[in-house]
């Protein structure tokens, strides 16, 4: 349950901003009429189902689908031999649409069948004969980078989209690096050095809507119409065009309601296969992954091996930190959306601390497991677990309070960070969130009971960069209509945009209407993700409102016979300055336009990460059952640094959401792997938190004054998750004295660690 803490936020003087406006698409969602991809029942649609490789690494000797083609009800069967030999991907194009001569993970698609009936398609696909010749496989990224390990992509250098920094290390397809100062000198100047290896597991985004694709080819125009659970429509249009060999302008993506994303819904998935089946059958095709398929072949969070080396003075001052992250990228890099084909969180691997000497190396590594993608705060979640666990190990060794050592090293105003903030961070609230966490959790006066412990952790991030379009018009009825092509994946972003427009024009929220267009609406834009939406799309919308105001002032000036300079747009009216009696309503201006469209369009692009960080501190309290090793989370205090809150219901929703996903990551969620085979293949085996797992959550907000997003607002979508797992790990150590460096913190691991410690007699 959530209880509000002492919110140190000034009351606002806005009319729409800061109000708990209900979700604009909420009514459809509680009535069951919101249209998700699979709800789009186009008459005549047939099903596609795939056959997947049972081998983690194998040569495909022969595929025989002849017998299946003649089965009753089967309308088309496609193998790699039937489609162009093209590799696909969001950035790095390294993944075949169907495995051709080689399968590189268990679950890789080998053939696809279309049928009227889903069961017929599924059954037929399973009957396709494939002869495999197993090859040596590799699953551990540290083994994959070593000499002599099987090479998974011999033609890597020829792949489109390969990042420039691609390494010559075996199976590494992306190597990002950042440096500050001289880390070796930093270690020489240190009085104590800590080096630890942490490992994290594969976890699935667990959106409840599995990946769904619906595709229809217009017989007359040849246009390809796409509905997909996909939040990156323009990138998808380009990737699909390349994959199927159809010009991008012939492809129309209809942005649909998305049943959860968390970073996982941006790849092509089954769309190319839908196209080839539609082309052969002349019918619209849908492919909906089962949850078993999701868990074996979705695009989960990267498992990782992270080595952190930190040099400190005896007073706890950090002199140097070196981080090496090895991401288990799986068989293909195709699912990663950013040009570096790495994980964006890696840039913050040094943590929320001012450190004069930093060296970060982030390696994306091929293995014979499921290809990984992005999941809420990608990279950071793993790295904050590693870095913040080690901070407590350092504090313990130096006998400094864990909260105190963090405060001593906290980032401050003007500090540069590796790879970002060349000119320094501004309005830094790092120290403040730590102090507030100490206060609200009564850190200093906490009375320790047996097997009860507390842990603190800290993280920071920021809004993401990218671009966005907005088209705004005033209709004859005085309704202001916004057209965009960004999907709202559930965060409430669309609602906030309507609040912004209502605020600037001084009209009721209900007078703003939002429409989501197709990819024919604009040239291109980044799409939802990276905590960019409220920032870049919000700025695009604010630009559009300003342009609309200019247009309306101009019109009103002509109608009233005054100069446009003397007109202001306030409270939904054009008012002549100093003579408030002379005014025109928006509807009056619109009516006088006589059919001419009062419409403006804007485009906004951010190319550099803004200097405002968002700092989050978390204090976890656990009880550990020493007979079983079970960890019971009793309480979580989180402290968030916020500026203007645009919609308090949505804001708190993002906090609650991130924290619960963090709790799952820390304690229960794991895609268990056995030689590349995911063995947790249902939501019964793969355990995300359910309503019984909810614990006492307390949110505290610390006020800061500036934010890069509209109305001085800050990021919240991804900042609540990362610090949860290390806070819990640190609390477990505080409770029973065992340090778990491998997520998740299961009862088995804690029990074993307690036994080992007992055996060692310490």
């Amino acid at each position: 349950m959530h209880t509000a803490g002492n919110k140190k936020v000034k009351p606002q003087s806005f009319s729409s901003i800061g109000k708990p406006a209900p979700k604009i698409e909420g009514r459809q969602k509680v009535c069951g009429t919101a249209l998700y991809t699979a709800d789009n029942l186009i008459p005549g649609t047939i099903w596609g189902k795939v056959l997947r490789s049972p081998y983690a690494h194998a040569r495909i000797v022969r595929v025989d689908a002849a017998r299946v083609k003649s089965r009753p009800g089967v309308m088309a069967v496609i193998t790699a031999a039937d489609i162009p030999d093209v590799l696909t991907g969001r950035r790095l194009r390294d993944m075949p649409m169907l495995a051709r001569d080689r399968a590189r993970f268990i679950g890789e698609k080998v053939a696809v069948v279309a049928a009227e009936d889903r069961n017929i398609a599924e059954e037929a696909a399973q009957l396709i004969e494939v002869e495999y010749e197993p090859l040596p496989a590799v699953f551990d990224p540290l083994v994959a980078v070593s000499e002599g390990a099987p090479e998974l992509h011999e033609k890597l250098k020829d792949y489109q989209g390969l990042p420039k920094l691609a390494s010559s290390i075996n199976n590494v397809y992306s190597h990002d690096e950042w440096r500050i100062g001289d880390v070796e000198r930093g270690f020489r100047e240190s009085e104590q050095i800590f080096e630890d290896t942490f490992t994290t597991q594969h976890v699935h985004q667990s959106y409840l809507e599995p990946h769904s694709s619906v595709l229809s080819i217009d017989k007359n125009s040849g246009s390809v119409h796409v509905w997909a659970s996909n939040k990156a429509p323009y990138q998808t249009k380009q990737s699909l065009a390349h994959a199927i060999g159809v010009p991008a302008e012939k492809i129309v993506i209809h942005v649909s309601a998305i049943g959860g994303d968390f970073g996982g819904k941006g790849a092509l998935m089954d769309l190319p296969l839908c196209y080839f089946l539609a082309q052969r059958t002349g019918r619209p095709v849908r492919m909906i992954m089962t949850y078993t398929e999701e868990l074996m072949a979705g695009n989960p969070r990267h498992a990782a091996v992270i080595v952190v080396k930190t040099g400190v003075k005896k007073d706890g001052t950090i002199m140097a930190r070196q981080v090496r992250a090895f991401w288990n990228g799986g068989a293909y890099g195709a699912m990663k959306p950013i040009p570096s084909v790495n994980l964006p969180g890696a840039v913050k691997a040094a943590g929320s601390y001012r450190i004069p000497n930093v060296k970060i190396d982030s390696y994306a590594v091929y293995t014979n497991s499921v290809p990984c993608g992005h999941f809420r705060s990608p990279g950071m979640v793993q790295l904050v677990f590693a870095g913040e666990s080690q901070m407590d190990m350092i504090a313990k060794s130096l006998q400094i309070d864990p909260l105190e050592i963090r405060i001593r090293n906290a980032l401050q105003d003007g500090d540069p960070t590796p790879g970002e903030n060349k000119h320094g961070l501004i309005d830094v609230k790092c120290r403040e969130v730590l102090e507030s966490a100490g206060e609200v959790s009564r850190w200093k006066t906490f009375k320790k009971a047996p097997h009860v412990g507390r842990g603190v952790a800290l993280s920071y991030r920021n809004v993401g960069i990218g671009d966005a379009n907005a088209r705004l018009s005033l209709g004859p009825d005085g309704i202001v209509s916004l057209l965009i092509t960004y999907a709202d994946t559930g965060t409430g972003a669309h609602t906030i945009l309507c609040q912004m427009i209502a605020e600037v024009l001084g009209i009721p929220f209900s007078r703003v209407k939002l429409t989501v267009g197709t990819t024919d609406s604009f040239r291109s834009e980044s799409g939802t993700g990276a905590s960019r939406v409220t920032f870049v799309l919000g700025q695009a919308v604010l630009m559009a409102v300003d342009q609309l105001k200019l247009l309306l002032r101009d019109r009103a000036a002509k109608m009233l016979g005054v100069s446009a300079d003397g007109i202001a747009i306030k409270n939904g009216k054009a008012v002549v300055a100093g003579r408030s009696a002379r005014s025109l309503s928006l509807a009056q201006i619109a009516a006088a336009a006589e059919g001419e469209r009062l419409e403006v369009e804007s485009y906004y692009e951010a190319t550099e990460t803004p200097p405002e960080g968002v700092f989050t501190a978390c204090v976890a309290e656990v009880y550990v059952d020493t007979e079983t090793g079970q960890v019971h989370l009793r309480k979580l205090n989180t402290v968030h640094d916020v500026a203007t809150i645009l919609n308090p219901v949505g804001h708190q929703g993002q906090i609650d959401s991130g924290i619960m996903q963090g709790v799952g990551y820390a304690l229960t969620e794991e895609m268990v792997m056995a030689e590349g085979q995911v063995t947790t293949l249902s939501l019964g085996d793969y355990k995300i938190p359910n309503i019984k797992d909810i614990s006492a959550l307390q949110t505290t907000l610390v006020r800061s004054d500036v934010g890069a997003a509209p109305f001085q607002s800050k990021e919240i979508g991804e900042s609540a998750i990362s610090q949860v797992a290390p806070a819990i790990a640190n609390a477990v150590y505080d409770a029973v004295g065992v340090r778990i460096k491998d997520l998740p913190i299961t009862a088995e691991k804690v029990f074993r660690a307690l036994q080992d410690r007992g055996a060692r007699g310490s």
Binding site: V30, G32, Y291, P689
Partner: protein, 154 residues
């Protein structure tokens, strides 16, 4: 194929379906009632929850043929005369939904709970909804909405 007579949201409906057809498929594909969601299809997530004679069931594991003669309610059957009911309104007010995919199932499970237990305790809410997963909200808003509804908030 079998001819089934189903009672859905107060209406008698004739539908043709395979004897082995699942209720989820008949509702969605046969009747076009797509408010009931296809989630995990293994009775773990609850996105497909509907009411069968007032009891919350996962329609992905119920045979449609077993529902003849029983009363079915789906999310489309909530509310009256185009107006939202109190539970739907409280879900909106308390941020009990984000992506909305679990929402129809959550609403149906909560409806069954509130019929059975008009003033549920926290533990009763937890038990009543433990067959329904939500990945977006962290469940806090869902708790708040159900409690508000139980306390008579409209």
């Amino acid at each position: 194929m079998a001819k089934l007579k189903l009672q859905v949201n107060g209406e008698e409906i004739d539908v043709e379906a395979k004897e082995t057809a699942l209720l989820l498929d008949v509702l969605r594909e046969g009747l076009g009632l797509t408010g009931t969601k296809r989630g995990c299809e293994t009775s773990h997530c609850g996105a497909c929850t509907v009411l069968l004679d007032g009891m919350a069931v996962h329609s992905c594991v119920v045979l449609a043929a077993r529902c003849e003669g029983k009363e079915l309610t789906t999310v489309e059957g909530l509310g009256e005369a185009g107006e939202l009911n109190a539970l739907q309104r409280q879900f909106l007010k308390h941020g009990a939904l984000q992506c909305g995919y679990c929402t129809p199932g959550m609403l149906m499970a909560a409806t069954a709970l509130l019929r059975r237990t008009p003033r549920p305790s926290l533990d009763e809410i937890k038990r009543g909804l433990d067959g329904n997963l939500c990945r977006c909200t962290g469940y806090t808003g869902i708790f708040d909405a159900i409690q508000a509804c139980a306390l008579g908030d409209k």
